[in-house]
Amino acid sequence: MVKLRVENLTVNFDGCQALKAIGLEVRANEILGVIGPANSGKTTFLKALNRMLDFIPCRRVAGKIFLDGQDIYANMDVLSLRRRIGMVFALPLPLPLSIFENVAYGPRLHNQKDKRKLEEIVEKCLKASYLWDEVKDRLHTPAFNLSGGQQQRLCISRTLAVEPELILYDEPCSGLDPISTAKVEEAMQELKKKYTQILVTNNTKQAARVSDRTAFFLMGELVELDDTNKMFTAPKDKRTDDYIAGRFG
């Protein structure tokens, strides 16, 4: 089943082309890895999906993106779109609030006021990102006191709390140590049961470990998209082969 379909997506910033006619499909409950060197348009791609690009004044977006068959750039309310497509950023970015309030932030935005309900949501989401056991005794302490890896898992919980259908990760482990990375990856595997996920990563090995299918972006183009196994053993395109083998990028 196709969750998200991207057709001919082209993004320009002030005349400079960041994405060139990208077309791909994301299947429900898969993890799609997106790899590619810096400046290949990976982050722009993610930001086009939840329309965070709207905040960049000089962007021009052409092409179509369908979420469950619905065009997200035409007659879809951007606020409800961002509820359906959650995002985890490259750096752990807790809000200057307590652990509890960080997770409760999204539900509160969307008018969840019942304290009991909020507590339930917070517990459920912290468990989903494997953070609950580490923080359950200090939910009301500042989120900034957590370690980097814990903060990133908190950010995942916070994203889960608005019950998105699709989660975008923008290099979520770039600032984390291997153990924290493993925990985040473990959480992602577990989340597959309920969510569709897109993982942008600079770390090709991470894509190989985590993703079901992998897309390779280069200079704003989608070079290749295939099952991760195939892609990493027998890439069709020479450039993919070179990149994966570490001959450039």
Partner: protein, 283 residues
Amino acid sequence: MKNDARVIQKIVFFLLGAATVLIILPVLAIFLLILVNGLPALTPEFIFSMPKMGMRAGGIFPAIVGTLYLVIGTAVFSLPLGVLAAIYLTEYAEENWLTRLIEVAIVNLAGVPSIVYGLFGLGLFVIFLNLGASIIAGSLTLAIMTLPVIITSSKEALIAVPKSFREVSYSLGASRWQTVKRVVLPNAVPGILTGTILGLSRAAGETAPILFTVAAFYLPRLPQSMFDQVMALPYHIYVLSTQVPNVSNKIQYGTILVLVLLVFIMNITASVIRARFRKRKLW
């Protein structure tokens, strides 16, 4: 060669230190002079009673109350307006010629001499809007003078809130206003407060803007409404030292000391808020 560098280093160190000390000296000198001469006057009776005998005796209570009313009135008018304008300019307005024009206007507003505000207030509030010389006219005049300070410091406080907090909030489906209300504003409040208090403390000490809009020469009673005139400390000092013959030094210095203390207290409050916030700051 090496010794040369050391000697020059010492000279430079001395010069820099001397310049810093020179900055402190005038402040200390002024404060000490006022303190030594004014402290003997500072009795409860001086602070809490009406002036008598054409201001040559008695207290300065109406002037203190008048200045406090003016500070409060100024805050009431300028704080909401200034903060809302700052929020609009930082969070909503797009970068175009109009916003640039507004920013230039704000900067220039800050540079307008205070006597011009006084005359503007006289023309607009006292005469045209027919408010008369009154607390409300004086507060409005001082508010306009204080606005640029409040807007500028509020804008800085808002901009200082990391952009990433906004992005996180938007990515969770928050609207602009929800983001401002829940993330940006709470983290900017200390900065806004600090700037506001500093602006108000300047307003408390200004003479020119209140000269024609509110200040009474001699009015030994408390105001009954915001349409009354009041005495105010800065103008009272001016009157005591130039308009009334044979006022004792003690009363003059005492009045000055009260005003200076008032302004100092406000400034120190601002510093304390800032320091507290720095300690608590989490990013």
